[in-house]
Symmetry: C2
Amino acid sequence: MPEDPSLAQLGEWDLIERLAAFAPAGQFSDDAAVIAPGGPVVVNTDVLVDGVHFSDATTDAVAAGWRTAAANLSDLAAMGCTEVIGLTVGLVAPGHTPWSWVEGAYRGLLACLQTHGGTLLGGDCSGGHQRMLAVTALGRLALDGRGEACAILRSAGLPGDVLVSSGPHGLSRLGLALLQQELGADLQARIPAELSQRARQCHTHPVPRLDVVGALHASRPLQRPWRVAGTDSSDGLAAAAAAIARESGCLALLDPDRLPLDPAMAWLPQAAQWCLSGGEDFELVLALEKEWADALIGRLPGCRRIGQLTEGTGDELLVDWVASTAAETNRLPALDMGGGYRHFG
Amino acid sequence: MPEDPSLAQLGEWDLIERLAAFAPAGQFSDDAAVIAPGGPVVVNTDVLVDGVHFSDATTDAVAAGWRTAAANLSDLAAMGCTEVIGLTVGLVAPGHTPWSWVEGAYRGLLACLQTHGGTLLGGDCSGGHQRMLAVTALGRLALDGRGEACAILRSAGLPGDVLVSSGPHGLSRLGLALLQQELGADLQARIPAELSQRARQCHTHPVPRLDVVGALHASRPLQRPWRVAGTDSSDGLAAAAAAIARESGCLALLDPDRLPLDPAMAWLPQAAQWCLSGGEDFELVLALEKEWADALIGRLPGCRRIGQLTEGTGDELLVDWVASTAAETNRLPALDMGGGYRHFG
């Protein structure tokens, strides 16, 4: 067997044996995994496909694994999970794929789990034309004093709620632009090394904001029932606000003076557009009452108010700008809620 | 929009909206699914890839969906689940895929859930070079009187346990042979229409044996602690027996006079080989003490004793024949434990 055999050289059983080394002992020895008892379980599936969600040009194997796990864990955070149970991995790859790529991807998955909790629960593997990771993550919700699950729902928003972002937006899109060398040479030369490094890191190793859920619990005003609307910003900040607005039957108003830009990239011509619809920042966008929002912002560095929910739906316009005159509205960037990607394009 | 648009014509959001119609109302409106409280949860992931696990030549879209769900639910049965919670689907397909194929696959998935319980919990979709369904199924175990989870584990077998098969083996492989027209014309002409129809059905619409778990509970001798070893025969009967033997530290002895053949196909030259290693019959292969095994066989039509577990491991030989002389052993077919498929070949 060569030092870095292909999957065809390894064969399915040897491959599974090597993958089992990433899981707790005995975890791969049955048909499926039993989950330890505890609070309400949340389940989420994300599929990442080579050439669509990652590529050798921008994402090495470890980063592909990390991003796959992080995207799933971000959805668990967006549902309000306080604990990651773990994940299963459906791996598809051509037979000529070197083991080292698979090993790197699983190292990335495991590193993300070791940082944020949870274990590799199991999975399946198959040959196929294209590398692909289908990950299902399982997490747990906390129960409140009355035994109700503390879930974050897109539909839980009410008019008057404050819209909050857990962090800045646009950095991941800048990282992608740098990795793809799509910025002109002039602009690229003006990006400070610190920003460049941070933006790439943000794109290749996004951080699922499970810590925000803990901060939400800790900042909850006394005697207040659990009611938090929210989602993650994987498809972009504007799309996240639109999803909350649509499911809550409200209109989301964003404040142009409170765009959650990273100060180091605010001078870029694309900054506002990437902030609104760059996607894959994996922050949480939340709608909650003012007192709770203020307490959360006070507790969580980087968390800021970005707008509010108001009455009024409008089938088309779910996000608009807070602006008192038409002239002001016209100077603002168009709000693209379509999501950052066309997967079937 | 044409009557049967391609996924590229539909776009991701319209596609998700159409897929949501297969799930309970509101199920797709959040980042992930919350599972209702209850007994211990079991999770299993299976990936089915076009050209590897199904193909237009042998499996239409509905059958591809059904088989994907059934393969997953069979793993839940093999773990001892008494209830199917539901499943998530990671769908990958090229942009030119017609909506009708996706609709057919989801119809097949849903038909399997409607027959065996559970709902569509959520999922993800992406473009890609090849159609693929990555399904994660969730089920529940019953608790015994002492609050212990009644799981079926491959490792729970003991020397002296009776090996039981929940039904005949080889029919699915015959169905595949008929669909692929790999039998010679002479042999094919001798297959009765009833057998042909049943074998094809067995291949395209396998039945996950969740009913066996109910029968196991109902036939459990009084006061007997829960101890059942087992797995499903998705990779073949011999591979299932080998898996139990390996994880239980025993040798599995199969009785050549008790091969679980379907009587209607026993005359085929390939019958014994397909029975042992054809694969994808999705029956349960169990190891349990004699009194319980007898009660189960008495209760469950088609269930039969096929051998036993004995002391002795042997690194290579995990399944052997019950045979008193070398001459007898030599007339028996070779036991192929390699699994029916080479996914990376």
